[in-house]
Structures are given as structure tokens and as C-alpha cells.
Symmetry: C2
Subunit: 479 residues, 2 copies
Amino acid sequence: MDKAQILVASNRGPVSFSISEDGSLDYRRGGGGLVSGLSSVAATTDTLWVCAALSEADRKAAATAPGARLDLAGFDLGGMRVRMLDIPDDTFTDAYTRVANSTLWFVHHMLYDTPNKPRFDAAFRREWQGYRDYNGAFAEALLTGSADNARVAVQDYHLALVPRMLRGRRPDLRITHFSHTPWAPPEYFRMLPAEIGRELLEGMLGADHLGFLSRRWADAFLRCCEAFLRVEVDWSKRTVEFGGRIIEVAVHALGADAGNLRERAAAADVEERRAALRERVGDRKLIVRVDRTELSKNIVRGLEGYREMLRDHPEWHGRVTHLAFAYPSRGDVPEYREYTESVRRVAKEINQEFGTADWSPLILEVNDDFPRSLAAYRMADVLLVNPIRDGMNLVAKEGPVLSDNGCALVLSTEAGAADDLGRDALLVNPYDVSETARVLHRALEMDDDERRARCERLVERASALPPSRWFEDQLRALR
Amino acid sequence: MDKAQILVASNRGPVSFSISEDGSLDYRRGGGGLVSGLSSVAATTDTLWVCAALSEADRKAAATAPGARLDLAGFDLGGMRVRMLDIPDDTFTDAYTRVANSTLWFVHHMLYDTPNKPRFDAAFRREWQGYRDYNGAFAEALLTGSADNARVAVQDYHLALVPRMLRGRRPDLRITHFSHTPWAPPEYFRMLPAEIGRELLEGMLGADHLGFLSRRWADAFLRCCEAFLRVEVDWSKRTVEFGGRIIEVAVHALGADAGNLRERAAAADVEERRAALRERVGDRKLIVRVDRTELSKNIVRGLEGYREMLRDHPEWHGRVTHLAFAYPSRGDVPEYREYTESVRRVAKEINQEFGTADWSPLILEVNDDFPRSLAAYRMADVLLVNPIRDGMNLVAKEGPVLSDNGCALVLSTEAGAADDLGRDALLVNPYDVSETARVLHRALEMDDDERRARCERLVERASALPPSRWFEDQLRALR
């Protein structure tokens, strides 16, 4: 098998399969920053993307491809070479669902109901072994697929142990790891079992270069290193010395892919959604939000902020509509199901309290319709992005880019995006429903000139580091 | 009215009243570090204690006393002068129940189920005004009752605004504020509405001297000052410059009042409980815990740790009994009621899984019996203190002091007491049920010599700063 000079490892790959009615394999290339970032690199260098099979169809595709190399099985991946790993079911559930998404995600987003969760017991130790095995499977594939002195870009909290696993066996490799989430402060990170916290940090420090979306998360990581590994941090250079090497910790603030987005948002299906929405809401002002139904996205408090605004400012009754598009996520986890129920309940309360024969103050849709989301971005007068904690939040960057008339952005201080956009967004404390109400009113009231001028500056900042450059910067750091 | 040279302000005072069957007022002096600390000072200096009426009987007592001065109404308070404030019901509920205990307590102990709580809305702003009024009532009483250049010792998170209120009107006063809770790291503290977070910090910085129970909490406070007030912190001296003054931030690690405790634990009612317990458990080893049913005390995970130990070490079956004494707390708050139910449920599961005709592995009592708690401290082979977060935790200090044969202390890393006792206690991560199981086993196995030697050192450290010296140190800091 040929060896690659550049390798990417991530749980989700750039392509996903489904089984069509006649039993054959369908596939489509994914969206997202990493795919578009890598595509441009893949066109010029020889690269290999290692990812996990996420469905039965994925597994089937991987099984039919020589060495699980999808590109060798005749699938057109735009020049990318992709190896899709068939991880055993139990291992995948332990690693992905239990450790990564129900533990590490909760730690970094500070989502736990601490009196009751987490509890690290014997069952968790078995799950942790699954996480190790899953990381090991990726490491093995990267070792096999890499040329001498290749550069390896490992993605996210699912794969925190991979850098050290590679380092131990192939010191020639140059390794970067990028975290797409926030990073917990030491006061929260320390709830992990001590030896597991250290294993995570030491796993990542196997890399030469560590990337984060915000200075805040990078600092939190460095503080964790100080607190749990007793290593020296050079705060002026933002480096750690570990295992006789110097590891750089840097911020790469992923931005919107403006060109691709605008092209997609001009398509007929989006135009059609836009017309239908306009028909439905008339010339009312539009407050838009688009999120996964994810505990960190803070949809309920956003709705409550809107409710408090309608109570305090009856002058908006009949003159504004809030479009809340929430696409379903993690419906298999009880907390997520209950959360989605809360969203529906508050939405209903708002329409009951304020709705009239010819005005629905709130339109909530809990389903996934990507072109409709793009249409909503185009139409928004106000875009509301109020997560309680968020690595970056690309909605805050993509919304302004697509805005037809320049939207006002109401943005949580706790989103990484606030670093880049804080000057021209209207910032809110996501826990503060009253402030959210006040700021929504202010955003609705903003005069056209100010709104457009702010939005222009938002677009500039939001697209300052498009995915391709974001990815190239990380590779360049592995000089 | 006479003016005092030393004043203490705290929500709960040194005396509480009840109405006896014939309708007359009964009263008793409270226990606790502050009361015993102040008593010794009160004997030599003229002091005034300002506190809130906490019951109808308290109110009645305050109403009958001239200027609400209980000592002038003929109650014998051991030389202390006490003014008990009759705070209007609504104000008290807003300040004490809603702001202090349901918000500030949750913030400093990091107890929130963050996707759902807190939410700071218009109702919270009204409650906050109640907190201000309550603080204002204390400030007014302190202003009225203080001699020129008097020293004022303000206690705890209920009264964070008092120092600044005093400072503004009486720059001659010398003011200290002491926090009996942990302090939240800035990453958590920032969930408070920004202006309220600042008001709290600035309120406390009205003092000349701020005291905390642990270096960790003092550091967290200083980091909050840096993050939210943009003030200069001198980390070598642990001072902040604010409003043209230098404020000291110091650690006063309150210890056990060994003499008083031992005297109390030798009384007949304790002896009687001890005999009854011994009768019940025979010569089995005893693991003891004593807590309020408080979300931060982590009783459920403690029981789960015990369960995992019994699963992993059948050799203890029949040879150990866990006494878990939980006295009821905040039964009016749904989270607390549910938590107590979880405690009962897990306890029942453990007895069902392991209990036999002649062995109950666990004895859970959810009621308040102080002499029984003292008896349990005397008898414990292992004392389990595993809060998820705790300002100090005096059980960890009082238990070893009272131990008849030298107990092993299993102690949470997250209790302030771990600073003082960490060397001779066996430390556990309170979220880590498996580690708790392992360490309980290790504690049970510890040989007598080691256990006694450790316990002797624990007693020495635990009683190093008894309440009287703890209080004198704070007054001395106001030189």
C-alpha cells in the first residue's frame, strides 16, 4: 500500500454511506470545515484520511474496499484517499458514546449535574479501556499508512491518546492535535479520575503542536498541564516542556468558508425555502437561531429571553417573529430527550401567552433542513447564538456571511467566536435571561446603518481564517 | 445605647429561641466555631453580635428586647451582647433562601445542573434587591452599634455587600470579612450576571482584610478580582489594590475546638449512644460518616464506593458495618428531597445485595442526633468525608479528635481540610467511586500502629487553630 505524506485522523470522515432501495451503496461527501479545508490540500499533496465507520452502510463499504481504502474501491472522493476503520461495536460504543460524548464532552462544556453525575466506577474503567482500544486502532492505521517524516493531523477529543501512541513508535512523525471543543479549567477537569486525566494530557502532549479554537481553551489546557503533570509552562511562548520535547500550544480560530457557503445559499432549494418563510412571516422582523438540540446550546434560556423581551416591550407584539430551528441530536440520551421536551414546552407557553389570530411570535422546528437553515440566515434581522459554552460556534460566523441585509448578532460571551466577533456582536451572558431580553430588544431597534456596518465587519472577521488556511497553518506549524 | 469596640455580623446568631408549651420563650446557646471563638473574646472586650431572627420565637424575643438587644432583656448570653434583627419575611426569603442558599451556595460549590439552571431573569433581580436590603439592615445595625475605630468581623456569603456599605459611611471602621464556603473559579463565577458578580466582589473589597478557609479559595477569589474588576493583584503578598486601598486576602484554616468537644463527647448521653451502637454492631469494623443531606456532601457516591468495595472484597462481608448518619437539610428544595431519596434507595440496594440474617452492611439514619454522632466519631475505625466541594469540613477535623482508638480518615481532595490533613488522611477524588472503594479497603486494612500514628498527627493538625485563635487572628489582622 502506498504511504502518505500527510495524514488526517478524525472520528467522522469526509464521506458517509447509505444503503439504497435496491441494496447498493449510496454515498455523499460531508460538509464542514475539515472536509473543505482538507480538500484543497488533498489536491496538491498526497494525503490519507483515517476515520471510523459510523453505520452499517459505512461498514459494508469499508469491508468491500481493499485494506478499507475507499478510494481504491472506486468511490470518487475528489482526490482524497480515505481509510475507514471498522471498529467493533462494543469498543465504538464505549469510546464514542460513553467516554467521548457522555464524559469528555460534558467535562469540557461543564455540563454535569455535579451532585449526581459523573460517577467513575468499575464500569467506567471498562469503557475507558474501549477508548484506549479505539485510539489504538487509529494509531495503528496511521502508523501503517504514513511515509517517513509524514505529518499527522489528529482531530478532537475522541482521539486524545493517539499522539503519544504514535510518538512512542515513530519518532520521525510530526504530529499535531486539534481540539474542536472548549477545554475545562483545572477546577473542573480534576473531577476525572486522576490517572485518566493525566493519560489524556500526556496523550495529547505526544504531539509537537496542539491547536485550540480560542486563547481561553489553550490557557485552560496549559493550566491543566501545570496542575496535573507538574510541568513547566512558558507562558510567554505558550509552550510546555514534556518528555524532553517542547510542545507548542496555539490558537487557530477556524472561520467560515464564505465562498462555498454563498454559492450553496444561492441554490434553488434555498431560494424556495426563503420564499416560503417570507410568505409565512410577512414583513415582520426576524430573530433566527439554528442549533442542534444539544445541552450546551442553551435554547431554553434563549426562548425565555425572547419571552421576557415580549413582556417588557409590547411594542414588538405582532412585529417580530422568532424562528428557532433545532435539529435533533443524541435522542438516545435521556438528558437530551428531556431537554428537547423543555424546548417544546417553553415554545408552546410563549405562543399561548402572546400569539394572536394572525401572529405566531415563535416558530419552532425540531428537524433537520439544511437549505431552510441557510434561507433563515439570509433573512435574519437578528441572529441569536447563546451557548453556555462552545468551542467556537460556526453559526455565529456563517450567519453574518450569508445575511442579505446585514444582521445583528447576539452572541454568548462563552462561545469561542466571541474572541473574534466580540467587538461588533452584542454580547450576552448565556445564563442571564434578562440581559438576553434587553440585548434582543437593542438588536431589533438597531438602525439599519449601524446594523449593516457592524455586519460588514463581522463578515470580515468571520471569514479571516477559512478552513483551507486554518488547516494549512497547522501543517505549517509542523515544520 | 452603648457602642461596641468589636462587632460580629452573621446570619445565624449565638442563640436561638423556641416557644415552650406554656407560651414562654425558651432559648439555647448554639454550638459551632464562631460561637466558641467569640465567647473567649467577648469575656475580655466589649463586643456586639448582630444576627438575624430565624424563627417566630426569635422574632418575638427580638421584639421584647430594648432595641432588639437580647442581653438587655435579661437573657444570659455568657457576657455577649447580641442584637437580633427582625428582617421582613419577604426580604429574608429573597436574601437567605433564594440568593444566598439557592444561588451563591450553588455557584461556590459548583452544584448547578448547568444546561437547566441557573437562570437569571426579572424575578432574580427582585430577589437580588432583597439581598441588598438584608445586607443594608445589617450595615445599619453595625453603624449604629459601633464605637469610633471599632473592628467589625462580617461572616460569610450572606453578607458580602456589608463591608462596602460600611466603608462608604464610616471610613474609621476596620473591617474583615470571612468566607466559610469555597470560592468559585472565574470560569464558573462568570455565570452570575456581570453587574451582580462585580457588586459581590466590590462589596467584599470594602473590607481591609478578607479571610478564607483554604489557599485554593483565596486564590480563586483573587483570580475573580483580576478577571472581573481588572484590578492589580500582588500575588507574592496576596493583596489587591482597590479604591485606593490595599486589601489583604489571607487564609485562616479554622480547626477543631478539641477541649470542648472532648468534654461534650464524654457526657452520659453520648456514652449511652455508644453502648447502644456497640450492642448493635458487635465487634465489626466501623466505617462512619456524618453529614447534612446536602448536595455537596456526596453521600450517594460514598455509598456506591462502599458497595463496590463489598463487591471487590468479599472478605469484608460480615466483618464491617457502615454507619451513615445524615441529618435532614433544606427539605423545602426539590433537589434536596430527591437527593435524600437517592441516598435511601442506594442504601436499601446495598442491604438487599449483601445483607444476611445476622449482618446489616449499612445502617443509614436520616435524622438529627448530635450525641449519637459524637458516639460514632469515638467508635469509628474509618471516617469517610468525601464532599464534592467543601469550604473546610469540620467533621474531618472533629472525628479524629474524638476517636477512642485512632481512626483512619478517608478524605476528599475537594475539601478545604485536605490542605491541613492531606498528609495523614487517605485522599480520594469524590467523583471516583472505584477509588473510594479501593481507599476504603486500604483504610480498613491499615494496621493498628499506622492508623494510630496517623490519627495522632491528624489530631495535632486538626486542632492547630482552634476557634478562639482563629477569631483573634482575624481581629489582629485589623491592626
